[in-house]
């Protein structure tokens, strides 16, 4: 196999593994195509199985002929390997570097992973759009399924099936798609049964500098309003940024053309600003030398909690429009694949009890993140330790999970899942044996034939034996809207994700689930 070329030294004896708060382990280090394995070859001794794709960065050091490799993982873990022999160490290091940065998706572990568990329910079919739509169609006839994007021709980042207003035909949708960034015409994200109002999402309108308009676009979104009622457009950019976007052909809805809609700008940061925030935050968490004040400064300077507050505030605002103002909402930023999805999905957590159950939350991830075209492959390619500042990497999904955790902490009895569930999703989004988070959109996933060639995360996680670890024992269904506090005093650092490897193992916190908890077959 071609991996063999990358592995110059497959095995080194007498390697010492150091991890925070664990005693050092001496054993044999093995490199396989997808894993780094350290085994002490003794019974009852914990072994290390690390996916190469989980490795974010490595450093090497030498003292005499003793080499040390420091491995920084995408889940923020830092481990150290002492490797006797300079050549072996260099070989191992270069192999890890090569194997952790494989270009081709089809060489990734999910394509080689063979599950050792019996698949009771194929997760690839657990959340089909038709089934999800049934939940709405029983309550309203205003909406229909459209197959206009069947071949991914109208919008490459949308799924083949989307929900649109009943009165809008596919021809109109095609026209609207030309007026929206990336062809992302407004589609239904959520229908709130209580107020009968909806959340829609889209890409920015392509108004450009000369204020282009599109009658079909206006018709589409007005079709969602009742006579005489008004709606809100939440733009996840600041007015300034939205105005600047016009120069590049983008823009925002002009009041004159959308008189029934009121536009509110709720600025949420994107891309490298978020990535830098994460880098600074993790750096601050790892720095143990500074004193109390420096810690708060660094936490403040990372702006991580500011982003959390911004995102939650926007989501709360949307929920407030829907539930209190009884007005429908359209949400977009620029592409509509990042901050837009954070806001639409969090608003549903606040409004919809179902999305606070395990199945409902999985459905939400499937619908609002995977199907909606969040580019996981790009965003999660690197994590907090990356040096290459790629423009498209950003912890958008992690921020979303952190926001969910903040709400979970404020309403500890209203969620069927626990914190471990969120941590598990975070880890799998960055490195996994499952195909769920591969690719950037449904069309890419189709081309990769993930359904045929890889296992779905949901197949694994929805086994009763696995679910027990992710179930919140305090859960009592709460059918109310839950309004989180966004005051700075109420928002905390998500320690068990960001600091878990720096804190002593605590008695209340369950061990972090390892993505490799299941036995895996070696891929040679």
């Amino acid at each position: 196999m071609e991996f063999a070329e990358l592995i110059k030294t497959p095995r080194v004896d007498n390697v010492v593994l150091h991890r925070p708060f664990y005693p050092a382990v001496e054993g044999t280090l093995c490199l396989t195509g997808h894993h780094l394995i350290l085994s002490s070859r003794q019974d009852n001794t914990e072994e290390l199985w690390l996916l190469h794709s989980n490795i974010d960065a490595i450093d090497k050091r030498f003292v005499g002929s003793l080499g040390t490799i420091i491995i920084k993982c995408k889940d923020f873990r830092i481990i150290q390997l002492d490797i006797p022999g300079m050549e072996e160490c260099l070989n191992i290091a270069s192999s890890i570097e090569a194997l952790s940065t494989l270009d081709s998706i089809t060489l990734m572990y999910p394509f080689f992973y063979r599950p050792m568990f019996e698949v009771i329910e194929d997760g690839w079919h657990s959340f089909l759009p038709e089934q999800e739509f049934k939940l709405y169609s029983s309550a309203t006839s205003q909406w229909r399924l459209s197959y206009v994007n069947k071949e991914f021709a109208v919008c490459p980042t949308y799924p083949p099936i989307v929900i649109v207003p009943e009165s809008i035909d596919d021809e109109t949708l095609r026209k609207v798609a030309t007026f929206r960034h990336g062809g992302r015409f407004p589609v239904l994200s959520y229908y709130h049964q209580k107020s009968k109002r909806v959340i829609m999402r889209s890409g920015q309108p392509l108004t450009g500098t000369n204020g282009r308009r599109c009658k079909e676009d206006e018709k589409l979104i007005n079709a969602t309003l009742r006579a005489g009622s008004r709606g809100y457009i939440i733009d996840t950019r600041s007015l300034n940024v939205a105005q600047q976007a016009r120069a590049k052909g983008g823009g925002f809805e002009q009041e004159a053309h959308y008189p029934q809609w009121r536009r509110i700008h709720k600025s949420i940061e994107r891309y490298h600003i978020l990535q830098e925030s994460l880098i600074k935050l993790v750096e601050a968490c790892n720095d143990q030398t500074h004193n109390m004040d420096r810690w708060l400064s660094k936490l403040e300077a990372s702006n991580w909690l500011t982003h959390i507050k911004e995102i939650l505030t926007a989501a709360c605002l949307v929920a407030q429009c829907i539930d209190r103002e009884e007005a429908s909402v359209l949400i977009h930023g620029t592409e509509g694949t990042d901050s837009t999805l954070q806001v639409t999905s969090l608003a549903q957590i606040i409004l919809e009890p179902r999305s606070r159950t395990i199945r409902g939350f999985e459905a939400l991830i499937e619908r609002e993140w995977l199907q909606a075209g969040h580019p996981f492959q790009q965003r999660c390619a690197q994590s907090a330790y990356c040096n290459t500042k790629q423009k498209w990497e950003a912890p958008v999904f992690l921020l979303f999970l952190d926001c969910v955790w903040q709400i979970l902490r404020q309403f500890p009895c209203s969620f069927e899942f626990n914190e471990n569930f969120l941590i598990m999703l975070f880890e799998h989004a960055y490195a996994s044996q499952f195909g769920t988070f591969l690719g950037n959109s449904e069309s890419e996933r189709c081309k990769l034939k993930l359904q045929q060639k890889t296992m779905s995360l949901w197949s694994w996680v929805n086994q009763p034996s696995k679910l027990s670890k992710y179930t919140n024992p305090l859960f009592e269904a709460n059918n109310l809207v839950i309004w989180p506090s966004v005051a700075p005093q109420s928002l905390l650092l998500w320690e068990d994700t960001l600091l878990s490897f720096h804190l002593l193992p605590r008695d209340d916190a369950a061990q972090r689930p390892s993505p490799d908890a299941d036995p895996v077959l070696l891929d040679f």
């Binding site: 936490l299 605002l317 407030q320 500890p412 009592e476 059918n479 109310l480 700075p488 005093q489 109420s490």
Partner: protein, 660 residues
């Protein structure tokens, strides 16, 4: 009464601090002990009670078209904003409160009029609930090394110390008296905690009057005696909890710190905890941050850092950890002092004891700890917490900091403490409330002279009676954490220390988690217990019926009566909290502001809640009654929980559940 210029003002508005546009109209009453606001709204008639002794500052703000605003800040971190229509009335209320909030003699304090309807015997029993003689016995004293000394009988040597003191056996009265003359306020070294396992001890004193070169043979002998009382170690740590600079400055005033050359076998150590003035300012700065109207994350974090509060908390913890380690790991005895040995010394000794001894992490043990290290050793409660009108420069949140240290530890070790956060909050409240006599005065001597035990009631008995409210459901006596010393990381992490919004923003209930895991678990526990009892009763009954059935085949059993599960059945709209002001932008639409969800105006106290044992713990009492989270405990499960608008009959729902 003569200080009340106007006992009643009508048409006063109580401003909701979260959403200032919401204000409740009502009547304001001034009584000898409380400020009471009663809402006009006939449905609720909500009452807000504020004890005069809780009032920290009163601020009269500029009159506006709507009236004259009066801002009352309380020592338990409640903030009340009233708008009084007439400037004159406002002025009268202001002048009255200024006087009422600053009593000049002890007899004016609430505890002398507070009557919980207990007879004399009950009151006396309350005062002996916490018994320090018993506590020293529990530590294993007296023994071969330590003895009870009567040197301070009738407070002859030191008037801020208690009469009952443990000193090394080899310390003669001559040594003690000699040493006391060489120590500030004659607070000579005495035992605070004895660690049975290895004979090491924590002793406390005030600073030595060493100046630049003075020495005292008896004081040196005293330290020698402490060392000898611990045969396992050949030295004693002397921990000066002040910053070195402060200690050096004291030398110029004839005070200072121990010179290692003069004392044989001591290891001297500074641990820089700032003085009461720095701490007072730090709290002030932090409270200003808490009070900010919709601050940004940066405002908050920057303000928190700038206040230095968590740095000070960490300094106290670090000192406690140092001492606990010296005692448990090195087996060395430690003498702790600061300047007078009643503020930082009390903090540090009690933190160290808490880390070392699981007993202090129980309900009763914690009361004992406060009784010992704070009350008996002459922490100046009256001066520090401003119970009587006095020098504002003496006021400082010394015990508040200790209480926060305990909370920070509880966050780190959630199963190690028998009590919960509410216990700490209520103790803090009562340190300022003066409802009970425990924290009056500055020393045991003053309390005896005032005959506190004959004239007032003890908080400890009150807390003990209501201990069900204060239990930590996660506490397990057999848990590894519960035993022995609490082990913190070798390099204490900074992020361990968190802002305690449950204390400093506890009246902004919207900011707190809306469901309480503690309350939930306690309710489940209670439920389980009831069900078990029921099961037992039913099993007994079944047995009887089976016996009857032998005789008669047609027995109709209709015994199962729907039972009432306290705490589970009273669900109402519960956590129907309302959205906060997430954006100013929504204002231009005619707002359909919701009518329900007043729970987020934290300072409102409903009549119902007054039935709770503490009329003055206004905001806590609705926490106690669990108003906020009952729905989450409703037994009806998934689909049956009531939506905000549904008027479903709870009882029928419950019946469905029970029969299902």
């Amino acid at each position: 009464m003569e200080h009340i210029r106007t006992p009643k003002v009508e048409n006063v508005r109580l401003v909701d601090r979260v959403s200032p546009k919401k204000a409740a109209l009502g009547t304001l009453y001034l009584t000898a002990t409380h400020v009471i606001f009663v809402e006009n709204s006939p449905d609720t008639r909500k009452e807000t009670w504020i004890l005069h002794s809780q009032i920290s500052t009163i601020e009269k703000q500029a009159t506006t078209a709507t009236g004259c605003p009066l801002l009352i800040r309380c020592k338990n971190f409640q903030i009340i904003q009233l708008i009084i229509p007439q400037e004159r009335d406002c002025h009268d209320v202001y002048i009255s409160l200024i006087r009422l909030a600053r009593p000049v003699k002890y007899e004016e304090l609430y505890c002398f009029s507070f009557n919980p309807m207990l007879d004399k015997e009950e009151r006396e029993q309350g005062w002996v609930l916490i018994n320090l003689s018993e506590e020293y016995k529990r530590m294993g004293l007296p023994n071969n090394y330590w003895q009870l000394s009567d040197v301070n009988r009738e407070y002859r040597v030191c008037d801020s110390y208690p009469t009952e003191l443990y000193v090394p056996k080899s310390a003669t009265a001559h040594i003690i008296v000699g040493s006391s003359k060489f120590r500030s306020r004659r607070r000579f070294p005495v035992l605070s905690y004895y660690y049975k396992d290895n004979h090491a001890s924590i002793c406390r004193s005030s600073q030595p009057l060493s100046g630049f070169s003075a020495r005292c043979l008896e004081d040196e002998q005293m330290l020698q005696a402490i060392r000898k009382a611990n045969p396992g170690s050949d030295f004693v740590y002397v921990v000066d909890t002040r910053p070195k600079l402060n200690a050096m400055a004291n030398r110029a005033a004839g005070k200072g710190y121990e010179n290692e050359d003069n004392y044989s076998n001591i290891k001297f150590q500074f641990i820089g905890i700032e003085n009461i003035h720095v701490m007072r300012n730090s709290l002030q700065k932090m409270l200003e941050v808490c009070e900010l109207k919709s601050p940004s994350m940066s405002d908050f974090l920057w303000g928190l850092e700038n206040s230095g509060w968590l740095r000070h908390i960490k300094a106290i913890m670090d000192a406690g950890i140092f001492i606990a380690k010296a005692v448990s790991e090195e087996g060395a005895s430690v003498l702790v002092h600061c300047s007078d040995g009643w503020d930082r010394t009390a903090q540090v000794c009690s933190v160290a004891s808490l880390l070392l001894d699981p007993h202090y992490r129980t309900l009763k043990g914690f009361m004992v700890l406060i009784e010992k290290d704070w009350i008996s050793f002459g922490h100046k409660f009256n001066h520090r917490y401003g119970n009587l009108d006095g020098d504002p420069k003496e006021i400082s949140p010394v015990i508040d900091q200790f209480i926060e240290c305990v909370w920070q530890l509880m966050e780190q070790f959630p199963c190690a403490f028998e009590f919960n956060e509410r216990f700490l909050i209520h103790i803090q409240h009562h340190i300022y409330s003066c409802q009970f006599g425990n924290f009056l005065c500055n020393s045991q001597k003053e309390r005896r002279e005032l005959k506190i035990q004959e004239r007032t009631y003890s908080l400890w008995a009150h807390l003990w009676k209501n201990r069900a409210d204060y239990l930590n459901p996660l506490f397990r006596a057999d848990h590894s954490q519960t035993q022995g010393t609490l082990h913190l990381p070798t390099t204490p992490c900074n992020f361990m220390y968190k802002f305690w919004s449950g204390m400093y923003n506890r009246f902004e209930k919207g900011m707190q988690p809306r469901q309480s895991v503690t309350d939930y678990l306690m309710a489940v526990k209670e439920e389980t217990q009831q069900l078990e009892e029921e099961l037992e009763a039913l099993e007994e009954r079944l047995e009887k019926i089976q016996k009857v059935q032998l005789n008669c085949t047609k027995v109709k059993c209709k015994q199962s009566e729907p039972s009432k599960h306290s705490g589970f059945s009273t669900s109402d709209n519960s956590i129907a909290n309302t959205p906060q002001d997430y954006s100013g932008n929504l204002k231009s639409f005619p707002s359909r502001s919701p009518s329900q969800g007043d729970e987020d105006s934290a300072l409102i106290l409903t009549q119902d809640n007054l039935k709770s044992s503490d009329p003055d713990l206004s905001a806590n009492s609705d926490q106690e009654s669990g108003v906020e989270d009952l729905s989450c405990r409703s037994p009806s499960g998934g689909e049956h929980a009531p939506s905000e608008d549904s008027g479903k009959d709870r009882d029928s729902d419950e019946a469905v559940f029970l029969t299902a």
